[in-house]
């Protein structure tokens, strides 16, 4: 609890009324936290979430945001992340880029993604609203520090192709990728996962959830924090590594989608090239124009 206590002390010193709520033990990321925690965060103006297992993609958090809370996710935060790295970037300076990429996801109709490891994935953006998560909560909403990302939930059931993850899967203890993990994706669902030990582990874990929605292609996101420079296995560092993209799999409801699954995880890949409606947006991880 030292991270929760550090944040609570600082907020308390500012004159806020601070309660620390320790949720019941859960077994997997983005499992609901129980009705007492859901009720507590519904009563808050600001919610910090330094938890081991993510709460970001839960109904509890969605409802708190709906009732006006500013929610800052700090899943699996480490003492290193409190001292150095992504948290010490100039968030305000990155906000225009983040907003701009989110607007492109909103305006676009079709997205294609490739990378040198063999990724070639397409998805529809029809009816999609992009989200800018620049770690700055100027009003009710959600962001995960220090992960600056622009994301969206692609049109349900439209993703098609191959996603080869060569960066990190900072969930379930998987971490930085040793042997690329290949996701076959058809009609918006993961149909196969292959690669080495990490792929096998993930495949077994998802099968054990006995929930077909855990295979839903839920999210596409750009990582945009220039102070997140390498994969460490720390979730919110890895997702924010500048010049990477990730897909999220499972629950999409907190990003504007319709799916609620038993879990949600992200898989990050490097040096992506991204086209929206045929226009290149990112080339080998470099932002081309915005």
């Amino acid at each position: 609890m030292p991270i929760a206590e550090a944040v609570a002390d600082e907020a308390g010193e500012m004159g806020a009324v601070v309660s620390i709520v320790v949720p019941p033990e859960r077994s997997i990321d983005n499992e609901e936290p129980g009705s007492a925690v859901a009720a507590a965060i519904l009563g808050a103006n600001v919610v910090f979430l330094p938890v081991t297992l993510a709460l970001a993609h839960t109904r509890a958090v969605r409802e708190a945001i709906g009732s006006g809370a500013r929610v800052l996710s700090m899943t699996a935060f480490t003492e290193r992340m409190m001292r150095e790295g992504g948290l010490f970037t100039d968030f305000r300076a990155r906000q225009p880029l983040c907003l701009s990429l989110a607007a492109m996801l909103t305006r676009g109709e079709q997205l294609r993604l490739t990378n040198p490891s063999g990724t070639d994935l397409s998805m529809s953006l029809v009816g999609v609203t992009g989200n800018s998560h620049a770690c700055l909560l100027d009003g009710p909403g959600f962001s995960a520090v220090p992960n600056i990302e622009a994301n969206c939930a692609p049109t349900q059931g439209t993703a098609e192709g191959v996603f080869v993850c060569d960066g990190s899967i900072p969930y379930y203890g998987v971490g930085p990728i040793r042997e690329p993990v290949t996701f076959q994706i058809s009609d918006g669902f993961v149909t196969d996962i292959s690669g080495g030990d990490q792929a096998d582990f993930l495949k077994d874990l998802l099968a054990r959830q006995e929930d077909p929605w855990v295979y839903n292609l839920a999210q596409f996101a750009f990582g945009l924090n220039p102070a997140c420079t390498e994969f460490t296995g720390e979730m919110l560092n890895d997702e924010g590594v500048n010049g990477t993209v990730h897909i999220g799999i499972g629950t999409s409801a907190n990003l504007g989608g319709e799916v609620t699954a038993k879990t949600h995880f992200d898989a990050i890949t490097q040096a992506p090239t991204v086209w929206i409606d045929g226009e290149p947006v990112l080339s080998d991880g470099e932002v081309l124009n915005y």
């Binding site: 620390i20 019941p24 936290p33 129980g34 007492a36 507590a40 965060i41 009563g43 808050a44």
Partner: protein, 325 residues
């Protein structure tokens, strides 16, 4: 010298399994503050092992008894099937607690807990089920009764009306919507305001203000519901001067007859244990509002005495340690 490590587990097991009767899948909320977290940890670990969904809420230390917990914690409490409250300052008399009780929580109060209470025979060895029955029988006698006479070998002889009053039955196995201060098994009733007449001679303890166990009895003369004279030794003088300092006669209101019903509780000078000692009663003075009466005063203290005989409508309901209803 380092403090000896105290094993809190047996006490936590009693609280969770016997007092709280925590069931698998139940929503359990533990409300605590930074000074009491070790008791919260012990209780939450045991409740978790019992299969409950346990949420621990750490609140800032309250400035005074009865101050509301923050709104997020109040909402969490309203979702609970069982609440444990190891806090240093009482949250018993708050809207948050009332809402939780209206939502049918079973509440185990652990205000101002200490290692001594956590390891006491009063918590570890008491047959709480048996005492819950005794508690309800005596409560029914008060609720149905009209007048009380209280006497003791030391010379207490106090009469008062209880018509229309509903006894507060604090079994330590709370039903949904009830709270129990563990291990203080107690029944209390508020005298009809202004009705008490006679003499109170407290010879056991006043577990407040650092007074504790009494060296010399405190003798109080009561007229029309209020203490009009308080004499004895230094402790009596100290208490009287403290009460006088508020300049509010309601501090001297006879607010409560409380009957201790925990056979393993011992007189220690600590509130939660002393008030539950079987074979003692306490006369609460000051505020009666929180117990169902009309008087609001800046204070509420208890004067504890040994070997009471309690008569309701002419029938003896308790003599020393024996409940006779």
């Amino acid at each position: 010298m380092a403090e000896a490590k105290v094993d809190l587990l047996p006490g936590a097991e009693r609280l969770v399994h016997v007092n709280g009767r925590v069931q698998p899948g139940e929503e359990v909320v533990v409300v605590t503050d930074p000074t009491m977290q070790r008791y919260a940890d012990a209780v939450s670990r045991v409740a978790q092992e019992a299969g409950a969904s346990v949420t621990v809420c750490v609140i800032p230390i309250r400035d005074q008894d009865g101050q509301e917990p923050p709104p997020p914690v109040a909402r969490a409490m309203a979702e609970a099937a069982v609440i444990f409250s190891p806090v240093s300052v009482s949250i018993t008399h708050t809207r948050a607690m009332r809402s939780a009780l209206e939502a049918r929580a079973r509440v185990c109060m652990m205000t101002a807990y200490t290692d001594a209470i956590m390891t006491s025979s009063a918590l570890l060895d008491t047959d709480f089920d048996a005492q819950a029955d005794v508690c309800r029988r005596l409560g029914a006698a008060f609720t149905d009764g009209e007048s009380v006479r209280l006497t003791s070998p030391r010379g207490t002889d106090l009469c008062f009306g209880i018509e229309g009053r509903v006894a507060n039955v604090l079994t330590n196995i709370p039903e949904p919507g009830e709270l129990g201060p563990i291990p203080d098994i107690e029944v209390n009733v508020v005298p009809v305001t202004g009705s008490a007449e006679g003499t109170i001679i407290a010879d056991a303890s006043v577990p407040y203000l650092g007074i504790g166990i009494l060296d010399e009895p405190i003798v109080c003369v009561v007229r029309e519901g209020y203490i009009v004279e308080m004499t004895g030794g230094d402790q009596a003088d100290f208490l009287r001067e403290h009460l006088d300092s508020f300049g509010d006669r309601h501090c001297f209101n006879v607010a409560e007859l409380g009957v201790g019903l925990n056979p393993n509780a011992r007189l220690t000078g600590e509130m939660l244990e002393d008030e539950g000692v079987m074979g003692t009663i306490h006369i609460g003075i000051g505020t009666s509002h929180t117990l169902g009466g009309e008087i609001v005063a800046p204070t509420h203290y208890d004067l504890i005495m040994w070997k009471p005989t309690i008569t309701v409508d002419g029938q003896i309901v308790q003599r020393d340690k024996q409940v006779l209803v």
